[in-house]
Symmetry: C2
DNA sequence: TACCTTTGGTTGATGCTACAAGTATTACCG
DNA sequence: CGGTAATACTTGTAGCATCAACCAAAGGTA
């Protein structure tokens, strides 16, 4: 036995399965979105977060928080989305360091066109596998884990639609 | 917005939290392993799977299965690990197409040295946040999701015991 | 035998992410 | 005020993952 059983068998079983999901899920999401919309899941998620925000716009920092991303990563992604015409950057009025990212009409249309297929994939790969109790349990457990991964709550978690 | 298959608030809450975990967990694991052992989590996991196998060796295909990886990805990673002296490649006797990856003594020592700190991180970020019931629920739910992500069980953990 | 398909694995190009600087603006503090 | 620190964001680079293309061996078929 290599990894000395500092975890109980039950803990180990839960952990290995979680690791497998963490490894496989991103690929499943990216494959569908790449094929159907030429978007990575992170790009789609970024557009989706903007689409739900007031005025379909957010400061980069706030957007980074909602997408669980670092600012450098977001900056690159927004650059790509801007180049494709889905997002517009404008300086903020109140703070001249800040930049506001806003969804363009094209970006809004892109979200509308992409969401149904994406939701289908989510259902297919995750949601439909779970009954009501599973869903509640999953929410409870992921909330607890998130509290460890992000104790300060720097990364916000939207409760609105995807 | 026509959404024939949208998600209930409870499903949505579970999903967004799962997505956040999937986004944040790899970084947490990679950061610790990179800092303490100069390994990515996937590299460590690959070494760990080898260390548990008979004779500390596995065919590339079997190793890919246990690490939830594609063969191209694994091939690149094993090349790096081989270059660093942790793994050795040898042709298989029974099938001349096949390659057997075996953990070297250095690789074994690397796993021994790295495991404790890694398990600490796993506990800190996930396991310690969960009580017994959570752990059981997590295992059950991840098994169900894996069954969707990998219906054929090509990757190791889809069903069955550890 | 010859042929076609499948399996096992590697390799190279492309693209995204993480990390480390760097710039510019604002906040803090004596 | 003046100076330092902290915040907001961008950019360049290095490294890993993905995908397509490729080769070689094995299995099937006639």
């Amino acid at each position: 036995m290599t990894e000395p059983h500092w975890l109980t068998p039950e803990q180990l079983a839960a952990w290995t399965r979680l690791v497998a999901v963490v490894e496989l899920l991103p690929g499943a999401l990216d494959t569908q979105l790449q094929r159907d919309a030429d978007l990575t899941h992170f790009e789609y998620f970024t557009l989706a977060m903007l689409s739900e925000a007031d005025n379909r716009s957010l400061r980069m920092t706030a957007l980074a928080s909602r997408t669980n991303a670092t600012l450098p990563r977001l900056s690159h992604v927004v650059s790509r989305l801007e180049r494709r015409g889905y997002v517009r950057r404008t300086p903020a009025d109140d703070d001249r360091r800040a930049i506001i990212a806003q969804l363009t009409d094209d970006g809004w249309q892109k979200v509308l066109a992409t969401a149904p297929g994406h939701v289908d994939t989510v259902r297919q790969n995750v949601i439909n596998a779970l009954d009501e109790r599973d869903t509640e349990d999953l929410r409870r457990i992921m909330a607890k884990v998130l509290d460890r991964l992000d104790p300060e709550g720097r990364f916000g978690m939207s409760t609105g639609p995807m």
